[in-house]
C-alpha cells in the first residue's frame, strides 16, 4: 500500500519503565500503521502497554527506540515547540477519566484548545468563531443546554461527550481515545461509541485502546497487543 495512505506509522517501538530495581519492557519492537479515516481499536490486557503506545502515538511520551511518524514527519525530530503545536492542532485526546478542568465550564473546556493555540490578540479576533464551533460541537453531542455547567454538574456520559467535543475543537486529523468507555455504564458507553462511529463515518481517524473485546468490535480494525508486540 502507498505510504500516503497512512496518517500514522510506528516502527520498531521500544519503551521500558523502571519499577524499583527492575526494568520492565512495555513495548518490544512494535510496528503499527494507521490509515487515514480508519477507526482502529487496540485491545490488550491490563499492563500490555496499550496506553503507553497511545501516548507515544500522540507525542505525549517518547519511545526509548523506534520512530513514530505522522503524515511522514518523524515526531522525534520535532522541537518541543513544534510538538506542542502538533498536540494542539493535529491530535485530540479522549481519556478514560475525562480530564476536564474543574474551574472552567463546559463551553470553556471545549474551546480551551482553540484558546491555547492562539496569542491574546489572535484569540480576541477568533473568539466568536471558536465559541460558535464549541457550541456547535456541544449541540451535536446533545449538550446545548449544558454549556454553562461545571464538569461536576454533569453525568459521566456528558463529561465524556464534553471531552470528545474538546478533542475535536481544533479539527484534529487524529483522535486518540484511551479507554473512553472504561468509566461508564454499558448504555452510556455505547452512546460514546455511537459518537465515535458517526465521527469516523464523517472521515475522522480514530485510534482507541480498550481492554474490552466487545467494545473493540465497534471499530473497523482490531489489533491485539500482547507482551509488547502486536500479534
Amino acid at each position: 500500500m502507498n505510504d500516503n495512505n497512512f496518517i500514522l506509522k510506528a516502527e520498531n517501538l521500544h519503551k521500558s519503565y523502571r519499577m524499583g530495581r527492575t526494568q520492565v519492557s512495555v513495548l518490544k519492537g512494535l510496528d503499527l500503521a494507521v490509515k487515514k479515516g480508519e477507526f482502529l481499536a487496540i485491545v490488550g490486557a491490563s499492563g500490555s502497554g496499550k496506553s503507553t503506545l497511545l501516548h507515544i502515538l500522540g507525542a505525549l511520551d517518547r519511545p526509548d527506540k523506534g520512530v513514530v511518524s505522522f503524515k511522514g514527519q518523524n515526531l522525534q525530530q520535532l522541537t518541543n515547540n513544534k510538538l506542542n503545536k502538533f498536540r494542539n492542532a493535529m491530535v485530540g485526546f479522549v481519556f478514560q477519566f475525562y480530564h476536564l478542568l474543574d474551574e472552567l465550564n463546559v463551553l470553556e473546556n471545549v474551546f480551551l484548545p482553540a484558546m491555547a493555540g492562539k496569542s491574546v490578540l489572535g484569540w480576541i479576533t477568533s473568539r466568536a468563531e471558536a465559541k460558535k464551533r464549541a457550541k456547535d460541537l456541544l449541540t451535536q453531542f446533545g449538550l446545548a443546554d449544558r454549556v454553562n455547567h461545571k464538569p461536576y454538574q454533569l453525568s459521566g456520559g456528558e463529561r465524556q461527550r464534553t471531552a470528545i467535543a474538546r478533542a475535536l475543537m481544533n479539527q484534529p486529523e487524529l483522535l486518540l481515545a484511551d479507554e473512553p468507555t472504561g468509566n461508564l455504564d454499558s448504555a452510556t458507553g455505547n452512546g460514546i461509541l455511537d459518537v465515535f462511529e458517526k465521527l469516523n463515518n464523517n472521515g475522522q481517524t480514530i485510534v482507541m485502546v480498550t481492554h474490552d473485546e466487545r467494545i473493540a468490535q465497534r471499530a473497523q480494525r482490531i489489533i491485539t497487543l500482547t507482551d509488547g508486540q502486536i500479534i
Binding site: 503507553t52 505525549l60 511520551d61 480530564h99 476536564l100
Partner: protein, 453 residues
C-alpha cells in the same frame, strides 16, 4: 488568554488560594500600618531634632566655649546662603525654687542652660513655636509680667507640668508666678573656675516667664535664659566674650551638605586669621556640623529603630515568600492533572510556568489591594480606635504621659507604600517560582497517570 482565565479561576475558586491571598493582604496591612506609624514618629522626631538646632551648628564640646563669635556673626550676616544665625551659651546649672506656685512643683535639680536671644534664636530654630505664653511676641519671652526687676527664664515644659491622656500638658491659663535660683560654675578662658577660692559659683534669681515644648528631650532637661545673663552666669562675658555654639539657618533651597561646607570653609578661614589672637586654641576645638551629625545621639536612636524595623519587615517578607511557596506547592500538587491536560492540548512548559506566575501576580495584586485598603482604613481611624480602647479598656498604644507625641502619625507615604507593594509582588513571584518550574517540568504521562501499563 487561558492563562489569565485559569489564574483568576484558581484564585477565586480554590480555597487554598484564599490563604495565600490573606497571607499577602495581612503582611501588606501590618507592614503598612507599622511602617506608617513608626516612620511618622521617626520623621516627627527627626523634624523636632532639626527644628531644635537649625541647619548648621558651629560648636565646641568644651564648656569654656570660644571667643570672637561676634566677628564671625558679621561674616555670616554677609553670607548669602545664611538666613539667620543665633549664638548660644550652653552649660549646666543647679536650679532651685525660690518662691513656689501651686501650679508647679518644687524644683531642685541640675539642668542644661541655653542662653539665647529669643528673637534671633526663633529665626534659626522653632523656639517661637515652642513657647506657650509668648508665641506671638517672642521678644517678650524673657519679660516677667509681674516683676520687672528680675530677668525671665523659659523652662522646659516636661519638668513643670503633667500631661493628660491625649498627651497635652496641663499648662495653666495664667503664667504661674514663681522664681528660681540658677547656679552655675563660671569658667575662665583657660578652663579654670573663675571664682576659685572665693565664691566658686555664680547664682542669679530668675522669674518664670514661659515654658517651651520642643517635643524632644530638651523639654525635660533645659532652661532657657537671656543670652547676656547666661553669658555672665557662665563666666563668658569677659574681655573676649565667648559662646558655646552658633546655630545657623540656611536660606530656602540651600543644599545642606553644600551649605555646611561653605560655612566650614568660612570658619577655617576665620580660624586661620585669628591664629595669633588670644585664646585662639579655643577656636581650633570648634566643629562645623550639619544638624544630623550634631544631633546624631538623638537621631541615631531613631535611625536604629528604623533599621530594626526594616530588618523585622525583611523577616516578614521572607515569611511571606515561604507561605506563598507552601501554598503554591500545594496548589501545584493539586493541579498536576490540569497541567497534564494543558500539556495534552499543546500548552508549552513556558506557558505552564507563566500560568502559575500569573496566578502569583494576581495573588500579589489582590493581596496588596486588600492589604492597602485595610491598612488605609485602619490608619484613618487609628486615633479614634486608640481613643476607644483608652475609654473602654484604659489601653494606650503610646502612653502620652510618657511619650511626647500627640496623635499617632497616620499619613501614608506613597514611596513607602510603593516599596511595600513591590516587595509583596517580589515575595509572591519568588514564592511561586520554584513550584511553577516544578509544574512546567511535569511530564503529561505522569500527571495524567497514564504510566500505568
Amino acid at each position: 488568554m487561558y492563562k489569565a482565565i485559569l489564574a483568576i479561576r484558581y484564585l477565586f475558586k480554590r480555597r487554598i488560594s484564599h490563604f495565600s491571598l490573606v497571607a499577602v493582604a495581612l503582611c501588606v496591612f501590618v507592614v503598612l500600618v507599622v511602617m506608617t506609624v513608626l516612620s511618622g514618629l521617626t520623621s516627627q522626631f527627626k523634624n523636632n531634632a532639626h527644628l531644635s538646632v537649625g541647619d548648621c551648628i558651629i560648636s565646641t564640646k568644651s564648656l569654656v566655649g570660644f571667643a570672637y563669635y561676634e566677628q564671625f556673626l558679621e561674616i555670616l550676616d554677609n553670607e548669602k546662603i545664611v538666613e539667620a544665625a543665633s549664638p548660644v551659651i550652653k552649660n549646666y546649672a543647679i536650679v532651685k525654687s525660690v518662691t513656689t506656685s501651686s501650679a508647679v512643683p518644687y524644683i531642685e535639680r541640675t539642668l542644661k542652660i541655653a542662653g539665647i536671644d529669643p528673637v534671633s534664636h526663633s529665626r534659626v530654630t522653632g523656639f517661637a513655636d515652642w513657647l506657650h505664653y509668648n508665641k506671638t511676641d517672642t521678644a517678650k519671652a524673657f519679660e516677667p509680667v509681674y516683676d520687672t526687676n528680675l530677668p525671665g527664664c523659659v523652662m522646659g515644659v516636661g519638668f513643670l507640668f503633667d500631661r493628660d491622656s491625649d498627651g497635652n500638658y496641663l499648662i495653666p491659663e495664667q503664667i504661674p508666678q514663681f522664681e528660681i535660683d540658677v547656679t552655675s560654675f563660671p569658667l575662665t578662658a583657660k578652663g579654670a573656675l573663675a571664682k576659685a577660692g572665693t565664691g566658686v559659683v555664680n547664682t542669679k534669681t530668675f522669674a518664670f516667664t514661659d515654658c517651651a515644648q520642643s517635643r524632644i528631650s530638651a523639654d525635660w532637661q533645659t532652661i532657657y535664659l537671656p543670652f547676656k545673663e547666661a553669658q555672665l552666669l557662665c563666666g563668658m562675658a569677659g574681655a573676649e566674650k565667648r559662646v558655646n555654639a552658633i546655630h545657623i539657618k540656611f536660606k530656602p533651597g540651600v543644599d545642606l551638605p553644600t551649605g555646611c561646607e561653605t560655612i566650614n570653609a568660612l570658619w577655617q578661614n576665620f580660624v586661620t586669621k585669628k591664629a595669633e589672637a588670644a585664646h585662639a586654641n579655643l577656636l581650633r576645638k570648634v566643629k562645623v556640623q550639619n544638624w544630623k551629625i550634631y544631633s546624631r545621639e538623638m537621631v541615631a536612636v531613631a535611625e536604629t529603630q528604623q533599621t530594626m524595623m526594616i530588618f523585622c519587615f525583611a523577616m516578614i517578607g521572607i515569611i511571606t515568600v515561604f507561605i506563598v511557596f507552601v501554598v503554591f506547592y500545594m496548589i501545584v500538587c493539586h493541579k498536576t492533572k490540569d497541567i497534564g491536560i494543558l500539556k495534552s492540548i499543546g500548552v508549552s512548559n513556558a506557558n505552564i510556568k507563566a500560568l502559575f506566575l500569573s496566578f502569583a501576580f494576581l495573588v500579589a495584586a489582590c493581596g496588596s489591594v486588600i492589604g492597602t485598603l485595610a491598612g488605609w482604613k485602619f490608619l484613618v481611624h487609628i486615633n479614634q480606635i486608640e481613643d476607644w480602647l483608652f475609654e473602654h479598656f484604659g489601653f494606650q498604644l503610646f502612653d502620652r504621659t510618657m511619650y511626647a507625641i500627640g496623635d499617632i502619625p497616620n499619613t501614608i507615604d506613597l514611596k513607602v507604600l510603593a516599596g511595600i507593594i513591590s516587595v509583596a509582588f517580589l515575595a509572591c513571584l519568588a514564592g511561586a517560582f520554584i513550584p511553577s518550574r516544578q509544574a512546567a517540568k511535569l511530564e503529561p504521562v505522569d500527571t495524567l497517570q497514564v504510566n500505568q501499563l
